[in-house]
């Protein structure tokens, strides 16, 4: 009964998925949206499974989103916080993961500042590895929840024009989105100052624009990225004021997009830096729906991976 289709053991990045895999995750997530609207927001699908949240970078929304997702599926969850952990005492990433694995978890969700660390974990770990953001590489669940939001609005995830504005260079969200939309055959424009939008991204299939009005023209989706001052983005343009003048989204610029266009942002938003205060609260803005969808998408990923592919060898 039922067709078995998803065959990935890990979620390392959108790059590793086929368009069919993406469709499967989105369809599964659509079914999970309903569970979060119930009085009793819990199903027993992952009862007895253990999920470890292994976060080496600060994160509130992604970590809590994974936490809620795991709990709504009845999985047990451990939050491993690097700032109070033995890493401070000099333990290596490998030893930390091996120690955690000795407790037989099923899925490890990792966020790490080193690109490729989730892939590295798969070389020795027995659990399913989920990438919750690795360096400047990928943030697959964010791109998937963005895609789910678009699918809910446009009833399809194909044939769309997506404009991504901001610090593309340092953004794993942008990378995952560009890869996802190239796979789905969508048109992607990336917009920002040349220092933050290198031409190399054209190799990934995105079109580079340095003028925001040209870039968002006829777009279905305008996705704003945060100015990541903690990653040194401030060194890439003269001042926030100048950045805002050229690359912030406001009502006037937003009008260049299609009439039905929606505004998205992975958060946290810097009001009146990259995004106009009133536009962020308007009915064009899907920022909060993105957060809600994050739970459904992460439930779908945890459900589909399950983490049973490789039983520990005793």
């Amino acid at each position: 009964m039922g067709d078995y289709i998803f065959s990935q053991n890990h979620l390392l990045g959108i790059d590793h998925l086929s368009d069919k895999d993406i469709d499967t995750i989105l369809e599964t997530a659509e079914s999970f949206v309903e569970i979060s609207t119930r009085d009793v927001k819990k199903v027993p699908a992952l009862k007895g499974k253990t999920v470890v949240n292994l976060f080496f970078e600060n994160s509130t929304r992604t970590r809590s989103s994974f936490e809620i997702a795991a709990k709504r599926l009845s999985a047990d969850l451990i939050n491993f916080n690097s700032s109070v952990s033995s890493l401070k005492k000099g333990e290596s990433l490998r030893d930390t993961v091996l120690t955690l694995e000795a407790m037989n978890p099923n899925i490890i969700v990792i966020r790490h500042s080193a690109s490729g660390s989730p892939l590295y974990l798969t070389t020795f770990a027995k659990s399913s590895i989920v990438n919750a953001g690795d360096g400047f590489h990928e943030h697959p669940t964010q791109a998937l929840l963005d895609a789910l939001t678009m699918k809910q609005v446009f009833k399809t995830i194909r044939g769309l024009r997506v404009a991504i504005v901001g610090d593309i260079l340092h953004s794993r969200v942008a990378r995952s989105n560009i890869i996802l939309h190239s796979k789905m055959g969508n048109e992607v424009s990336i917009i920002g100052p040349p220092s933050l939008v290198p031409r190399e991204f054209e190799k990934m299939g995105a079109k580079v624009h340095y003028n925001i009005e040209d870039g968002v023209k006829n777009a279905d989706v305008v996705m704003m990225l945060r100015v990541q001052s903690e990653r040194g983005a401030g060194n890439y343009f003269p001042s926030i004021r100048e950045y805002r003048k050229h690359f912030a989204i406001n009502r006037k610029v937003f009008k260049c997009a299609k009439k039905s266009a929606i505004l998205m942002h992975p958060g946290p938003i810097n009001r009146d830096v990259e995004i106009d205060n009133t536009l962020a609260d308007s009915d064009k803005s899907y920022i909060l729906q993105q957060v809600t969808n994050g739970i459904a998408v992460r439930m779908a990923v945890l459900y589909l991976l399950k983490g049973d592919f490789n039983e520990p060898i005793n």
């Binding site: 078995y4 079914s31 569970i35 119930r38």
Partner: protein, 183 residues
Amino acid sequence: MEEKIKAKIMDEKKIMRAFQRMAVEILENNRVVENLVLIGIQKKGVFVAERIKKLIAEMENIDLPTGILDITLFRDDLHKHEQQPVIRKTEINFSVEDKDIVLIDDVLFTGRTIRAAMDSIFELGRPASVQLAVFIDRGHRELPISPDYKGKYLPTSRRERVNVMLKETDDIDQVLIMEPTRF
């Protein structure tokens, strides 16, 4: 697994009569219809429920609230599969609290689907009663579950499969018994 048709058990006419009888029995058993709701189990149970809802609407001119239930997340064999089964949508746009629920599926076999469905429903609230309507009861129960309404009792062997084909999904109304071509 390849399989072939062993026997055709019901045609369109027989299926229609069975549906009508089930609709009548449901109405007879539930004198008060104010609290009566139908819930079809994904996937074929959904269409069986729609048929019964339509027949009841024609007979009594009442439109029973009808929901869709996917039981996948409540299955007892989730940990046994190599890959995860597809999740379909659950859509119950009414409160189940204090309702008389008729749970509807196409084929009743081990009873495990119904156990999962009841667990799932009780997460949504406390119904006044739950009744079970199945189109085909093929025997081989593994749990203490028995239908209140059935279209047909069809004794089968375990290795066979009962295929309830409906116009909504298969373009034809018929019930077939399938058997594997190899062992």
